[in-house]
C-alpha cells in the first residue's frame, strides 16, 4: 500500500466490482463481458452448425426435436484493461489554500482516485496501465495483470509531479492509438482548456471502442470565486501574475465558469463519455463508490 491508498477505503469499495459499461476484450477470462462467444455458463444464442465447428458444442436435444444441427453458444467473460490517464500539468498543483504546494492539491486527489481504482481493478484480476499527461506524454505504463506491473503503476503515481502546461488533448490521441484493445479509459484532470480541444480526443477514444470516464477535478473557489479582497493570482502554468479586485469581476467570472461547465457537459454527452465533476472538498471514497455503483451490472 502507498500512502495515497487508504486500506479502509479499499476494504469498503472492494465489495463493489469495477465493471465496464461496454464489452471488453481481455487476454484471460474474467468477470467482464466480451464481444466474442466463449465458454462461460451464461447462454447466449443458437446458431446453425457449419462444418468445422466443434461437434462437442452441438445441442443434441434440439437435433432430436428438429433433425437439424445447432451449435449452442455461451457468453465469453474476460478481464478488463484499466487505463488511467492522469493530467500532470501545472494546474493540477492547485491547492485550496492557494499555496504553491500542499497536501491537498488536485494531483494528490487524482493520485488517490487513480491509486484506489488501480488497486481495485488489480484485485479483481484486471490489467492496469498508467499514462501521465503533461506538456507531452511523460510516462506510460501499458496495462498488465501482474502484481509487478501494479507496483510499477503505484510507484509511478507516487512520483508524479504537476508542472508545465497541459498537453491533454494530444495525450488523448496518443493514448487512443497506443491502447490496442478495448479498455476502460479513466481520465483524471481539471480540464483547464477549451472544451472543444478535448472533443476530438474523446471521440478518438470512443472510436476505438474504449469505455471513457472523465473525473473533472475542480475546487469550490475556482467556481464560486468567493474572494472579498484584492488578490494577486499567480498562474500555475506560467502565465504572468494578475492583481485583481475579485468583487469587480466576480459576476463575469462566474458567468465564464458556467458557460465552460455547460460546454464540457455538452461535449462529453455528445461524445458518450461518462463525465463526473468532482469537487476537491468531496470525499474521494464517496466519489469512487458513486462511480462503481453506477456501473454495477
Amino acid at each position: 500500500m502507498r500512502d495515497f491508498i487508504d486500506p479502509e477505503v479499499v476494504a469498503r469499495l472492494s465489495a463493489i466490482p469495477l465493471d465496464a459499461r461496454l464489452p471488453m476484450i481481455g487476454n484471460v477470462s474474467g468477470r467482464h463481458r466480451s464481444p466474442t462467444r466463449g465458454s462461460s455458463l451464461e447462454f447466449s444464442e443458437y446458431r446453425k452448425y457449419v462444418p468445422g465447428d466443434d461437434t462437442r458444442r452441438l445441442d443434441w436435444r434440439t437435433w432430436g426435436r428438429t433433425d437439424r444441427f445447432y451449435i449452442r453458444e455461451y457468453e465469453a467473460d474476460t478481464n478488463l484493461r484499466l487505463c488511467l490517464i492522469v493530467d500532470v500539468s501545472g494546474s493540477m498543483a492547485y491547492c485550496p489554500s492557494g499555496q504553491k504546494t500542499g497536501p491537498d492539491s488536485k494531483l494528490d486527489y487524482a493520485r488517490r482516485l487513480a491509486g484506489t481504482l488501480a488497486w481495485l481493478a488489480a484485485s479483481q484480476g484486471d490489467a492496469v496501465g498508467l499514462f501521465c499527461a503533461g506538456e507531452s506524454f511523460k510516462r506510460e505504463i501499458p496495462p498488465r495483470r501482474s502484481s509487478t506491473n501494479l507496483r510499477h503503476v503505484l510507484d509511478e503515481m507516487g512520483a508524479m509531479r504537476a508542472e508545465g502546461t497541459t498537453g491533454l488533448p494530444d495525450a488523448l490521441h496518443i493514448a487512443a492509438e497506443k491502447i490496442p484493445q478495448r479498455a476502460l479509459v479513466v481520465i483524471i484532470s481539471d480540464l483547464m482548456m477549451d472544451p472543444e480541444l478535448l472533443r476530438s480526443g474523446f471521440q478518438h477514444l470512443r472510436f476505438r471502442r474504449h469505455d471513457v470516464v472523465v473525473f473533472h477535478l475542480m475546487e469550490k473557489n475556482e467556481i464560486d470565486f468567493d474572494f472579498d479582497r484584492p488578490v494577486r493570482f499567480v498562474d500555475l502554468e506560467g502565465l504572468p501574475p494578475m492583481l485583481i479586485d475579485p468583487i469587480s469581476i466576480a459576476k463575469e467570472y462566474r458567468k465564464a465558469v458556467q458557460t465552460y461547465l455547460e460546454n464540457i457537459k455538452t461535449m462529453t454527452r455528445d461524445s458518450a463519455v461518462d463525465y463526473r465533476r468532482v469537487g476537491l472538498e468531496q470525499n474521494y471514497a464517496d466519489v469512487l463508490a458513486q462511480f462503481l455503483l453506477a456501473r454495477k451490472r
Partner: protein, 700 residues
C-alpha cells in the same frame, strides 16, 4: 453656505478616506497560486468597462457618505439661496437699511412691507447663523452706525420703523466704509436691504468710485443685496406742489398742482376717489387716471375767505403702498424773503442783491438790502432769511450774533474781499488771493451733486458748475484749534468735494464739507454746519476779473436762491418740508394741527407726514417726491456700481414667508443615506446559485 459648527469642517479631508483604504487594500493583497486563469482572463475582458464604472461609483458613494455625514454634523444653513455665503460667521455684520417710502410697498396677503420682510428675515438669519457677529445698523434716516446687542433687537429697534423719508444709499455705504475703516473690522458682511430705487441709489453719481476704492482697500468685505423690486399689482401715489391761497373778488381758493402716479396694471383707466381735508372739512372727488401719471396743474379748491392760513391733506384709498396715499399741505399769506448783503463796496454787492431780490415765483415777495459792516446791528435777525458777508471778518459781538443766527437754521455766505483778509470767524480766516497764470484759469473739478447749494435739479440734471472758470481765488484756513484745513496752506491736504470732516471742539455740530473744489483740490465753496444751519465760504467772487460766475449766471442765481429758500423755510408762516429734513428736537416742540398728526409720537414727527404749528408758523411734512418714481437700478448698473467688489444679490418679495436661511442638515443626512443605499446596491454580491455543487453527490 454658513455652518453652525464650522470647526467640524476640518474633517473634510476624511472624504478621501475610501480612496486611501482602496489604495491600502490594493497593497495588502494576498497571493494565490491559481489554476483557473483562463476564467480570469475571460472575466477581465468582459468586465473592463462596467466593472470599472461600478467600482468608481462605489468609491464615489462612499465619499459622498462621509461628506454627507461631515456636512450634516456641521449644521449647514441655507434657504432659497443655497451657497449664499461662505466662510463662516463674519466678525462684523453691517445692515444698511433703506427706510424710504418705497420700502413700504406691502403684500396684500400678509400685510408685510418690504422693509418689515427684510428686517424679519435678516433678524432670523442672523440669530440662526451669526449670533456671535458684531451687529451694526445704518438706517437711511439717521445715517449713523448703531451697534446692536443681538439680532433680535433688530425687530424692536426704533431705527427700523417706517418713515416717509428718502434714502441715499451711497451716503449709507459711505458711513459703512467709514465704520469699517475706523473700527478696523475683520471679515465684514454688509447687508443692504433696499428696493433698488434709482433715485436712492444715484447710479450715475460720482460717489460710487470713491466707495469702490474705500471698500476695495479693505480685505474681507462682502456685500449681500437683499432687494425687493417686484412691482405692486396696484398702487397710486398722490402729491401736491405749489399750494397757495388766492383771493378772488368775493371768496378765496387754494390753487395747487396735483399729481397722481400709478404703478401696476396700466392697461385700463382707473377712477380714483380723492378726499381733500381742508381745515378739518372733507370733500371727495373722483379723478380718472389712464396711463401711469395724471398731472393736473392749477387744481382749485374753494376755501373760506377769512381763512388766510390753514392746513389740509389729500388722501387716497388703501392700495399697494400705504405710505404714499396721503399728502399734507399748509398755506398762509406769502412771506417776504429778506436777504442782507453786508459789504463795504455796494457796487460789488450788486450782483448778490439782484440775484437775491429776483424771486423764483410770481407770488413770492423777495427783497435784498445792502448794509455797510458798521450797520450790521441794523440787521433784522428774526426776519432775515439769508446774509451775504463780503467785508472784513466780523468783530466778536457781530460774530456771536451771526452764529446765533446760523444756529437757528438760516444761511450765511462769506465772500472774500481783496485786501481785507485779516480777522477770522469761528476759526476760519482768508489768506492772500492767488491768481491763475495769464490766459489761464482754474476749473471746477468736483462738486456735491446730491445735496446743498450745488445739488442736481429736481429732474436730476446737474448744474453747469463745471463750466465755471476761476481766475483768482482766496484760500481759506482754519486756526490751530481746528484739526482740518480746507486747503491753501502748504503741507496740508484739503478734503475733496463730497467728503465731510468733523472739526474742532463740539465736533458733533461742526462738520466741514467742501461742496465744490477747483482742480488740484482747492476748495471753492466750503460749508460749515452750525446748529440747524450752516455758513459758507465762497473762495472767489462773481465779478469777471475773479470768475465767470456772472457770465454763467445759472449757478450763481441757483446757489443764492437755494440759500434763501433754506432760510425762508425756517421763517415762513407756512412751509412745506420733506420728512427727515427738520431736526427732531425742533419738531417735538411743535403741535399737531390735524388728528392724524396728533397720533404721531413726538420722536417720530419729523419722519412721518403731518401738519404742525409753532406760534404763527405752520409746517407740513411729506415724503420726498422722488419716492414716487418706480424706476429701479438695472442689473448692469448694479454691476457697474459695485465693480470688482464681492457682492451677491438676493431677490426677495415683500411678504414672502421663506426664510433667508434654515438648517439643512437633513438634506445632507438624506444624501448620506442615499449614498449608503447606493453603495449597498452596488456592492450586492451576485445572487446566482453556487455552481460549485458537483452534478453527482451521492454517498455510500
Amino acid at each position: 453656505m454658513t455652518f453652525l459648527q464650522p470647526l467640524l469642517l476640518l474633517a473634510i479631508p476624511l472624504i478621501g478616506l475610501p480612496i486611501l483604504i482602496h489604495l491600502i487594500n490594493q497593497n495588502r493583497h494576498r497571493t494565490i497560486h491559481w489554476a483557473a486563469t483562463m476564467f480570469l482572463i475571460q472575466a477581465r475582458k468582459m468586465a473592463t468597462g462596467m466593472a470599472r464604472l461600478r467600482y468608481i461609483l462605489i468609491l464615489i458613494a462612499r465619499m459622498l457618505t462621509i461628506a454627507g455625514l461631515i456636512f450634516a454634523v456641521s449644521r449647514p444653513l441655507s434657504g432659497g439661496w443655497l451657497a449664499l455665503t461662505a466662510g463662516g460667521v463674519p466678525d462684523t455684520t453691517i445692515i444698511v437699511l433703506d427706510r424710504s417710502v418705497s420700502m413700504e410697498h406691502t403684500d396684500q396677503g400678509t400685510g408685510r412691507s418690504r422693509r418689515r420682510t427684510a428686517i424679519e428675515k435678516l433678524s432670523q438669519l442672523l440669530q440662526e447663523s451669526a449670533s456671535s457677529t458684531h451687529l451694526v445698523l445704518i438706517d437711511s434716516v439717521t445715517k449713523k452706525p448703531t451697534k446692536l446687542d443681538s439680532a433680535s433687537d433688530l425687530l424692536e429697534s426704533p431705527l427700523v420703523q417706517d418713515s416717509a423719508t428718502a434714502s441715499d444709499i451711497p451716503s449709507l455705504l459711505q458711513a459703512a466704509a467709514d465704520y469699517v475703516s475706523e473700527n478696523e473690522t475683520g471679515r465684514t458682511d454688509v447687508w443692504v436691504c433696499s428696493d433698488l430705487q434709482a433715485s436712492s441709489w444715484d447710479a450715475s453719481g460720482g460717489r460710487w468710485e470713491a466707495l469702490r476704492s474705500a471698500f476695495a482697500s479693505r480685505q474681507g468685505v462682502r456685500f449681500n443685496l437683499l432687494t425687493y423690486t417686484d412691482l405692486p399689482k396696484h398702487n397710486v401715489a398722490v402729491s401736491l406742489r405749489n399750494v397757495h391761497r388766492r383771493a378772488t373778488a368775493d371768496s378765496a381758493e387754494l390753487v395747487m398742482d396735483l399729481k397722481l402716479t400709478r404703478t401696476g396694471d396700466l392697461s385700463q383707466p382707473f377712477r380714483v376717489p380723492l378726499t381733500f381735508v381742508i381745515n378739518g372739512a372733507r370733500t371727495t372727488t373722483e379723478l380718472e387716471i389712464s396711463g401711469d401719471t395724471l398731472q393736473r396743474n392749477g387744481h382749485i379748491i374753494s376755501v373760506d375767505r377769512d381763512a388766510t392760513k390753514g392746513w389740509g391733506r389729500v388722501e387716497l384709498p388703501q392700495d399697494g403702498n400705504p405710505a404714499d396715499n396721503a399728502f399734507t399741505f399748509v398755506y398762509a399769506e406769502p412771506d417776504v424773503h429778506r436777504t442782507v448783503i453786508v459789504a463795504d463796496d455796494p457796487v460789488a454787492a450788486e450782483p448778490f442783491r439782484i440775484a437775491a431780490a429776483t424771486s423764483q415765483q410770481k407770488n413770492q415777495n423777495s427783497e435784498a438790502i445792502v448794509l455797510a459792516p458798521a450797520q450790521a446791528s441794523q440787521i433784522l435777525w428774526d426776519s432775515t432769511a439769508f446774509i451775504v458777508w463780503m467785508a472784513a471778518m466780523p468783530d466778536d459781538a457781530t460774530a456771536a450774533q451771526l452764529k446765533s443766527y446760523v444756529q437757528s437754521g438760516r444761511g450765511l455766505l462769506f465772500v472774500p474781499v481783496a485786501g481785507l483778509t485779516a480777522g477770522e470767524f469761528d476759526g476760519f480766516r482768508w489768506n492772500e488771493w492767488k491768481s491763475a497764470d495769464e490766459n489761464s484759469h482754474f476749473s471746477v473739478g468736483q462738486w456735491r451733486t446730491d445735496s446743498d447749494l450745488l445739488a442736481n435739479t429736481r429732474s436730476g440734471s446737474p448744474l453747469p458748475v463745471s463750466r465755471l472758470q476761476v481766475r483768482q481765488y482766496c484760500p481759506l484756513t482754519i486756526n490751530a484749534t481746528n484739526q482740518n484745513q480746507p486747503g491753501g496752506e502748504p503741507g496740508t491736504q484739503p478734503p475733496s468735494a463730497g467728503t465731510s470732516t468733523e472739526s474742532g471742539a463740539g465736533a458733533a455740530d461742526r462738520i466741514v464739507s467742501v461742496l465744490a473744489q477747483l482742480d488740484g483740490g482747492i476748495p471753492l465753496l466750503t460749508r460749515m454746519s452750525l446748529g440747524d444751519g450752516a455758513y459758507y465760504f465762497l473762495g472767489t467772487r462773481p465779478e469777471p476779473e475773479y470768475s465767470t460766475m456772472l457770465n454763467q449766471g445759472v449757478v450763481f442765481y441757483v446757489m443764492i436762491q437755494r440759500a434763501i429758500a433754506q432760510g425762508a423755510a425756517i421763517l415762513g408762516g407756512a412751509s412745506g418740508r420733506n420728512c427727515g429734513t427738520v431736526p427732531d428736537d425742533l419738531m417735538q416742540q411743535w403741535t399737531a394741527l390735524d388728528p392724524e398728526s396728533l397720533e404721531i409720537v413726538p420722536s417720530r414727527r419729523s419722519l412721518l407726514p403731518g401738519v404742525f404749528q409753532s406760534g404763527a408758523r405752520q409746517i407740513s411734512l411729506n415724503r420726498p417726491l422722488t419716492e414716487d418714481d418706480s424706476q429701479v437700478v438695472a442689473d448692469e448698473q448694479l454691476e457697474q456700481m459695485f465693480g470688482t467688489l464681492d457682492f451677491v444679490r438676493i431677490q426677495d418679495q415683500s411678504g414672502q414667508q421663506s426664510s433667508l436661511a434654515s438648517e439643512i442638515w437633513r438634506l445632507f443626512l438624506g444624501l448620506m443615506i442615499f449614498a449608503l443605499l447606493a453603495e449597498a446596491v452596488l456592492c450586492l454580491p451576485d445572487r446566482s446559485p453556487s455552481l460549485a455543487k458537483p452534478n453527482q453527490a451521492t454517498s455510500l
